[in-house]
Symmetry: C2
Subunit: 367 residues, 2 copies
């Protein structure tokens, strides 16, 4: 009885992806038994070769556990600066990019914010709790229409800040850098908050370097997704030096733990990991896309490691999958979407296969 | 030249304790070579026996690195609740207690705040950046006078929130629980923010349980000091359930990393660690107090693992110590104090001895 009751509340219980703890409770398994396709994190971080190196690092730094982490993240900023050929002064590291998104809104304190929807639901949450007076939105499920709608909206009503997730979560598309920059240049009074949590899949569209000299552009980067560091929390933002100084006034000290800083340095300098991950995802994308086409499941073209699927009776599927221990992100609480939109992330072949197998069975039962 | 210049700027460069990274740069050593008496963290966490257990834990959980941490900190809250016999619903975990102190002020959004000085400088910082209109202060270096001054101040002008660090950083005294509760009861409209970062040294004065039923009382606890978990960031607050629900609306998700959650559970349940640490500090306190008395250095009586010393030419001593690789907390930027107040924390015997030796030499040179 209790179990069913919780399964009925599945949407309310799982407002975000990645909560394997609640999911496990609902389907009466251990968290480690959940196949988590709801969080778009890179599973290769726990592959044997990388894990061995990471465990060695953990052993080495554990003797400094009683030391505060470097509040400046000096070493990590140095590596980021070298990699992207930018100034260290243009970088601010955080406890996941979420801390920095919250921090930016608090520091900028905009009256009106525009959110390009459908997108990451935390943008709305942070504006709601930070005294923002009005949230405007534009919404479309066709990528081609987004920028036109944005321009029209800006002509109609001025805002002080815009949230744009690029590549976009949950649709998986990427808007060309050039096109975004046109609008950034046209509206110097609007701060563009560009969340590049998934940009490693198409680095050429990154606005990271531009953010160091456009005064109205902030770029957020994350170690959670492509680098798979979800458990330790690490992100950074890039902006012009003046802005960074302003943001620092609002920042809590020591927010980035020592382990995250160390792993950030390690992952950015391990070229093999980046190369292997790109190859791995390319293969899995081909495999899963072909399989989905074969069973005629509608999905949005994606440059990232996740896909937005459209499936009538999506809530039923979400429950059906969870009964088999597979957690997906039901997009019921994304603005403009509903429970028939489901986001699934790519994991290792075996897990992707299991998902496809259960999905197929469900589709068959449906007929 | 450059080195001297940096040594001259030592105060500006080190506004907080624990920054072994900057200190190392100033005295041209490696961070690991710094004897850090500026951060009051328990060095026993890296003693061989405990470290071995911790390294085993790290190895075990590293395979979950690509999973998001539990945003609810379910397991950790369960252990805290059991230990203190309170409800899990009265607990909120954070990325160090600093996150929760910032969060509380943002959520409560008080117009006027009173700070009991001298104390942890972050209270002032968070009020300054959170739109608090007025900061009142009371200040005394005699513990007996503090509460009387507080009562007088409250009669003169109402505030919405009060910061009280108990035991107090940097003076090291503890105010009796009973006396604080009297004022908490007398002023139900004022929220009392009690920072118990060092309460493990005198648990009987903790207001943790009271915070679950007094609607105007919040208690902050930390794993940084007594448990020595500075590098991983972990803290929690205790308050009544209604307040916790309100605070949750302002909280960033996933702020407490998976490693901190796991170590928190481990340290709270390892009774040996708590017992051994208390014994260890008792011994070191006796040793250092006797030594300081012998060389006639003035210090404040302390219930904690740190001492506030008063030394004319304190800035000179701070520099002198750092030249020997010893970092202390010069209290120049604590309200009401100046550069002749120095806070030193207890580390292992060998390090305490080295500090006393260098201090003695400096005193001799002074004559």
């Amino acid at each position: 009885m209790k179990n069913n009751l919780e399964l009925d509340n599945i949407l309310k219980e799982l407002p975000h992806g990645g909560n394997i703890y609640r999911a496990a409770k609902i389907c009466k398994k251990a968290p480690s038994e959940i196949i988590d396709l709801s969080a778009s994190t890179n599973p290769l971080i726990t592959s044997r070769e990388i894990l061995k190196k990471i465990q060695k690092l953990f052993r080495e730094i554990s003797i400094f556990l009683d030391k505060y982490p470097d509040p400046e993240c000096t070493q990590l900023k140095k590596i980021i600066a070298e990699k992207y050929k930018i100034s260290e002064k243009a970088i601010l590291c955080g406890n996941g990019s979420t801390e920095l998104i919250y921090l930016s809104i608090r520091a900028l304190s905009p009256d009106k914010v525009l959110i390009v929807e459908p997108t990451f639901i935390e943008y709305e949450k942070v504006t709601r709790i930070s005294g923002v007076k009005k949230i405007n939105r534009i919404f479309d499920l066709k990528k081609e229409k987004i920028l036109k709608k944005l321009k029209t909206a800006l002509k109609k009503e001025k805002v002080q800040a815009i949230f744009l997730c690029n590549p976009n979560n949950p649709t998986g598309w990427v808007i060309e850098k050039k096109k975004i920059l046109e609008i950034v240049s046209e509206y110097p009074d609007i701060t563009f908050l560009i969340d590049e949590a998934f940009i490693e899949f198409c680095e050429k569209e990154s606005l990271l370097r531009e953010a160091t000299f456009y005064p109205n552009l902030i770029v957020f980067r994350s170690f959670t997704k492509f680098f798979g560091l979800a458990g330790l929390r690490l992100g950074y933002l890039v902006g012009n030096e003046k802005l960074i100084e302003r943001l620092k006034n609002y920042k809590e000290p020591w927010s980035v733990n020592m382990f995250a800083q160390t792993l950030g340095v390690f992952l950015l300098t391990d070229k093999n990991f980046i190369k292997k991950s790109l190859q791995f995802f390319k293969k899995e994308k081909q495999y899963v896309e072909t399989a989905l086409q074969k069973i005629k499941v509608e999905f949005f073209p994606s440059v990232t490691n996740f896909y937005l699927l459209y499936l009538p009776k999506g809530l039923d599927l979400t429950k059906y999958l969870l009964k088999s221990g597979i957690l997906v992100r039901n997009c019921y609480n994304f603005y403009g979407l509903n429970e028939n939109y489901i986001r699934v992330s790519l994991k290792k072949r075996k897990e992707n296969q299991k998902f496809l197998r259960v999905l197929k069975t469900w589709l068959k039962d449906l007929l």
